[in-house]
């Protein structure tokens, strides 16, 4: 087990370093510095300002200072476009929003998807099973950027039940559609995974033994079949997490929820390099670490993986 953890960490660390160096290097090669403008500053003034912000240092020194700033003070530096806003302010403003609908979506995807998959497998070839299979096939062509406009069209424009956007301090009406849009395709994938693994488990020997000794069906399912059939879902949590982080760009873009994706996409349009880099490194390292934890968790639960 320890061996596996070490091996997994040995992948995560270079990944983090590559992410850091790659995004820093991309920002460095981007045309135009933070203080270049249409009316150029006198060279001496520019040099003074750059010295103040450490931009006259060699690149590796800048990178080092940046990393030290993040690690020791959680300081992602200033924005290059908005003078009254640092990357930290943006994180503080957008992160709670993204986290709120992200966590709810994550839970919805796991719980609804798992329940759908398990019940479809228990009643294989019933209408419930066909419904579940239909949903999983349909959801493949309904990624979040297709779901979101359709939801607005139906629930806001036609039925008028829900507000078409905004956040409003996280009122429940404003959370419903982002959660549905974000979670549907992952819910479907989880349902497909649990269905097929549950079918496999139900055919295995130890379930037959349990049947043979006369256990009632619900005990077999709850006590014996459920746990092993939910295992593959754990390995899917990593990709689902990544998908939801990137999916939040779409959610914030369509619903105007003002989460971190809104700032990221805006920064991409404004070429606000420091914000982009800060958010990339924050969200990127979060996904890398999450994936690592999930992998280790999976190996801990299922020893076959450690090999």
């Amino acid at each position: 087990m320890l061996n596996f953890i070490i091996r997994r960490v040995a992948v995560a660390i270079p990944t983090l370093i590559i992410l850091l160096v790659a995004s820093f290097w991309l920002m460095q090669t981007a045309p135009g510095g933070p203080f270049t403008s249409e009316r150029p500053l006198p060279a001496q003034v520019l040099a003074n300002i750059e010295a103040k912000y450490g931009l006259d240092q060699p690149v590796y020194k800048q990178l080092w200072d940046y990393v030290v700033g993040i690690v020791t003070q959680f300081d992602f530096g200033p924005s290059y476009k908005y003078k009254d806003r640092s990357v930290n302010d943006i994180i503080a403003q957008g992160f709670p929003v993204t986290l709120t609908y992200g966590i709810i979506s994550f839970l919805v995807a796991i719980i609804v998807g798992g329940a759908l998959g398990v019940s479809a497998a228990i009643r294989q070839n019933s209408w419930l099973d066909y419904f579940a299979v239909g949903v999983t096939i349909g959801a493949q062509v309904l990624p979040n950027f297709v779901m979101a406009p359709i939801l607005i069209l139906v629930f806001t424009l036609w039925l008028g039940w829900l507000p078409g956007g905004g956040w409003n301090g996280g009122q429940w009406q404003h959370i419903i559609m982002p959660v549905i849009a974000l979670s549907t395709s992952y819910m479907a994938s989880i349902a497909r995974l649990t269905r097929s693994s549950m079918l496999e488990v139900l055919r295995s020997n130890f379930i037959r033994t349990a049947r043979a000794k006369g256990l009632p069906d619900n005990v077999i399912i709850w006590r014996h079949a459920l746990k092993p059939s939910l295992l593959p879902v754990i390995s899917y949590l990593g990709p689902a997490f990544v998908g939801m982080v990137t999916g939040s760009f779409i959610i914030d873009f369509v619903f105007g929820t003002g989460g971190i994706g809104y700032f990221y996409v805006n920064a991409a349009f404004n070429r606000d390099y420091s914000v982009m880099m800060g958010l990339t490194i924050l969200l990127g390292s979060m996904t890398i670490l999450f994936n690592m934890v999930v992998d280790i968790l999976y190996a801990w639960i299922d020893p076959k993986i450690r090999l």
């Binding site: 992948v11 995560a12 270079p14 990944t15 590559i18 992410l19 790659a22 995004s23 991309l26 920002m27 090669t29 981007a30 096939i137 493949q140 062509v141 309904l142 990624p143 950027f145 297709v146 979101a148 406009p149 607005i152 069209l153 424009l157 078409g164 990544v242 982080v245 990137t246 760009f249 779409i250 873009f253 369509v254 990221y264 996409v265 991409a268 349009f269 070429r271 390099y273 982009m276 880099m277 990339t280 969200l283 990127g284 996904t287 890398i288 994936n291 690592m292």
Partner: protein, 313 residues
């Protein structure tokens, strides 16, 4: 072939029977077998037909229309919601978009770019991933573990961020999308191919090739890769919709294809903005083509998997 086999048995009767048997049980190759199974799969066959129609539409559809993708109709501009509805009579089959341009031609243009991104992206993934994976798997040992560790590392980088960074720094263009998608698409492929290679490389025919001194690269190209083809074809078909989805994602945010060109993602994004004004057709037509195409690729991929890899069922 048959004659030579039959020759030793010169008795007229046995020969006759042998000929008849040879006729009846004409050997079926793996591929003929797979084709038979694929053709029997109704969903996959329908998908092939529909997909062919979509491709033909994107290639030749423009000849049915007298308009182009960028000229606005000044009479309609400003009043598109009321005057820009789809109509067969005036030749704007799909109506106008919000800048009073002909939507029919824009959908054709968008389909072209989206399909091209999907197919070319998958192609790059296939070529690079196959060669990389086959090499790593066949050579094995330390080279293999270094090569695959590298893939592990690249795979755990959340590539959507890197793709967006790349597009912002290097300028938003379709070329950069190709580069960015191509950079990451081959990773999965190389893993799958490596796994398959490991199972092939200890077979007798590879041993025979090693024994008579065929160079390594030649064994990989001539003996390993052709035997991987089934898996590669299946996975490549499933990769195409993924590529299309990625490109659409980027273009939906406005970071991908730039005006006057467009893609399904960009068209959907525009449609989302104008559906408030009742211009539903601007969302409906791109959505239709998008959904239909993705569906087709999934069904074809599934059909190919069932056909080429029967033990997977």
């Amino acid at each position: 072939m048959n004659d030579r086999l039959v020759q030793p048995f010169q008795q007229p009767k046995t020969r006759e029977i042998a000929e008849r048997i040879a006729e009846d049980v004409k050997g079926r190759s793996l591929w003929a077998d797979a084709r038979r199974r694929f053709v029997a799969n109704r969903a996959a066959m329908v998908s092939v037909v529909v997909l062919t129609l979509v491709v033909l539409f994107s290639l030749f559809g423009q000849f049915l229309s007298e308009y182009d993708i960028e000229t606005p109709d000044w009479d309609v501009l400003g009043n598109v919601a009321a005057a820009g509805k789809p109509s067969i009579a005036n030749g704007h089959y799909f109506g106008y978009d919000e800048y009073a341009r002909d939507l029919y031609n824009r959908v054709i243009q968008g389909s072209r770019i989206s399909l091209a991104v999907g197919v070319i992206g998958a192609l790059v993934a296939v070529i690079v991933g196959t060669i990389y994976g086959a090499t790593a798997g066949f050579i094995g040992g330390r080279v293999d573990s270094i090569m695959m560790r590298l893939v592990d590392i690249f795979m755990s980088i959340p590539y959507m961020f890197v793709l967006i960074l790349l597009l912002v720094v290097a300028g938003r263009s379709i070329t950069m999308i190709f580069v960015g998608i191509g950079l990451t698409a081959w990773l999965d492929m190389s893993r799958i191919v490596r796994g398959q290679t490991l199972s092939i490389k200890n077979r007798e025919f590879v041993e025979a090739a090693i024994a008579i001194g065929v160079p390594t690269w030649r064994i990989i190209i001539r003996h390993i890769v052709p035997n991987l083809l089934g898996v590669v074809v299946v996975y490549a078909t499933l990769l195409v919709p993924q590529m299309i989805l990625t490109e659409s994602f980027i273009s939906f945010l406005g970071l991908g294809v730039q005006e006057p060109f467009t893609s399904w993602g960009a068209l959907l994004s525009e449609g989302t903005k104008t559906m408030n004004y009742g211009m539903l057709w601007q969302l409906a037509f791109p959505l239709f083509f998008f959904v239909v195409t993705i569906f087709c690729f999934f069904f074809i991929g599934d059909g190919l998997r069932d056909a080429l890899d029967p033990k997977d069922r």
